[in-house]
């Protein structure tokens, strides 16, 4: 009976995860692009996972899985050189926009947005173990916060960025507080519904959000107060005027990339501190045994809420950035598919594993751009990978290891 329930849950999750990859794809037909939905592959994938879970294929094929090589970055030599590696990656990321093509920088910026979303959702799903199927709602809240505040009150990107994060976190708290007291399964369903509700509200509240038309002409971010447009707004100064160089739209692309990079670094910094703080330990403890937590005086609702709100906050930040980058948003940018993609990133990367999530985000955003020519197969391959992951490696590419606080042994302490 229990295996039937697990199988059902796994099948549901597969449906969610494979829907954007296997079920829907864009068909470019001359000038028009249409979204074609084909549910057959999804159905097959769901069935596959369901049967595999039911028959407990994983256990039966355990021997094979054991033999498969695992990507493990927790080796001693890696952790010893981690600072060096981080520095190398950071320098490469900083140099990248100045040497890469404009298109590549654009894709990288796009990918960084998903890195941020993935890291944010990773807090909720990976660390706190809460299944959030409506993460896109908070992304939308952040995006619309910036778009509306900028449009109605002329507030700048840098002012709206924290406000967007704060708004999203507030929505997270308002939604999470009643729901997080309930059992896990309810959260998935309620968040799924919430994601749709937000989108419907945005779609129908014409007077505020311009409904399906969305909001256009959203201001770009400024760089130290300098604008990135060709012509300065009244009273403003543009970057190229300031430096007395000719206008090049590439500057804006590079600036946006660097802002995205900055946001990702900020996200990583905060998360890496948090997992070493009491709240990070509490998230893990809660995932492991909620009853034990309660017996020790930890309030599970509050601790879950902190993860939920923080995840929402990062989605809000990413949303504000997204709106400023594209300059235009519509409710259709925030469909369920988006939530599913971010969830796929977290699952693929290995819940709770930050490097895994970053790699998965890059993989799922950059690869499709590189492989546009064989997009048909790419969907198939992604879908297949997802299904195989669900069956054999539910812990993801790189299983999470939270940094442990060590107590020196008695001898070490005396030295």
């Amino acid at each position: 009976m229990k295996s039937l329930k697990t199988a059902c849950m796994a099948a549901l999750l597969t449906a969610v995860l494979t829907l954007p990859l296997l079920g829907a794809h864009l068909v470019v037909n001359g000038l028009s692009t249409t979204l074609v939905v084909n549910l057959w592959p999804v159905g097959i994938a769901v069935l596959l996972v369901f049967v595999a879970q039911l028959l407990d294929l994983k256990a039966r094929l355990g021997a094979i899985t054991q033999a498969l090589p695992t990507v493990s970055l927790s080796s001693a030599s890696f952790s010893r050189h981690i600072r060096l590696w981080l520095a190398v990656v950071l320098v490469a990321a900083l140099i990248f926009p100045f040497v890469a093509s404009r298109g590549a920088v654009d894709v990288a910026t796009y990918a960084l947005t998903y890195v941020m979303l993935g890291l944010g959702l990773n807090i909720v799903v990976g660390f706190a173990g809460l299944l959030d199927l409506g993460y896109v709602a908070f992304y939308a809240v952040g995006a619309y916060s910036y778009a509306l505040l900028s449009q109605y009150f002329g507030l700048s990107f840098w002012v709206c960025l924290p406000i967007g994060g704060l708004f999203a976190a507030t929505f997270g708290i308002l939604l999470g507080f009643p729901v997080l007291r309930l059992r896990g399964d309810y959260l998935a369903i309620v968040t799924l519904g919430f994601g749709e509700i937000i989108r419907l509200v945005l779609n129908n509240w014409d007077s505020l959000t311009h409904g399906p038309d969305g909001i256009n002409g959203i201001a770009r971010p400024t760089v130290f107060g300098l604008e990135l447009n060709r012509r300065a707004s009244p009273g403003g100064t543009t970057l190229h005027e300031f430096f007395g160089i000719p206008f090049d739209s590439l500057y804006a692309v590079i600036a946006l990339y660097l802002i995205a990079l900055l946001l990702v670094i900020l996200t990583l910094f905060i998360i890496n501190r948090l997992v070493r703080m009491p709240v990070g330990r509490a998230w893990e403890a809660l995932r492991e045994d909620e009853i034990a937590c309660r017996s020790l005086g930890l309030n599970p609702t509050l601790i879950k809420l902190s993860a939920f709100a923080l995840g929402a906050c990062f989605a809000g930040l990413a949303g504000a950035f997204y709106a400023s980058r594209l300059g235009t948003i519509t409710p259709e940018s925030f469909t369920f598919i988006e939530s599913a993609v971010v969830l796929a990133i977290v699952v693929l990367g290995g819940m709770g594993s930050q490097i895994g999530v970053i790699l998965a985000a890059l993989l799922l955003t950059v690869l499709p751009e590189l492989a546009r020519s064989f997009s048909e197969y790419r969907m198939l391959i992604f879908g297949l990978v997802m299904v195989l992951m669900m069956i054999w490696r539910p812990q993801g590419l790189m299983p999470a290891t939270r940094p442990r606080l060590e107590l020196p042994t008695a001898e070490e302490a005396h030295q």
Binding site: A282, E288, L296, L407
Partner: protein
Amino acid sequence: MKSPLLTVSGLQMRFGGLLAVDGIEFQVNPGEIFAIIGPNGAGKTTVFNCVSGFYRPTAGEIRLDARAITGQPGHRIARAGIVRTFQNIRLFRTMTAVENLLVAQHAQLDTNWFSGLFMLPRFRRAERDALERAAYWLEKVGLREYANREAGNLAYGQQRRLEIARCMITQPRLLLLDEPAAGLNPQETHELDLLIRELRDQHDVAVLLIEHDMSLVMEISDRILVMEYGRPIGIGTPAEVRSNPRVIKAYLGEE
């Protein structure tokens, strides 16, 4: 006469048609070791679950000092000073022993995000103190050298002791132990006996104990409540309980 620390009166817990606990009354005084005994299914763990806030009793009242705590959520009761172990050990199995003890100190730690994010001195000090307290308790239960081992990989007896240390580090006033000697060998049981006395004598904690090991119970307890089918059939000092005809008939006589 000291006023009681814990007062349980008219406690009843009904699960559908089953009266798991009915008419239970007892008091635990400060510094007392109080045992509940009775055959399996008598309702002992259910009493624990009511006292520690995991079940909301269907009738009756539970007071800590003079304050009613009946039906309060478990985490609030824990913060008020009642913590428990579980019949089937509930450690955070993939976390290390020392981390188990850090999580338990959550309520006493600096959980301000700002000071944590920027590692302010206040935060560092709080974490260092927490580690020191963890080291102290690991030492106390003889697990100092296993500090960085995953809790799930410890031997059974060690897990039991870690669970007790995890309770004690919250500085409770009343410690609830659900069959702490289950699965221990005689040597370990003897050490447990000494440990419980030490906790009571040096750490100012009263102990409410469920235990099947009669020699341990009779030796260590100040008073004993005997339960059968959810109802009390005797209460008193070990000597009184041992000579209570109903108890002999229902429980001890069977041995």
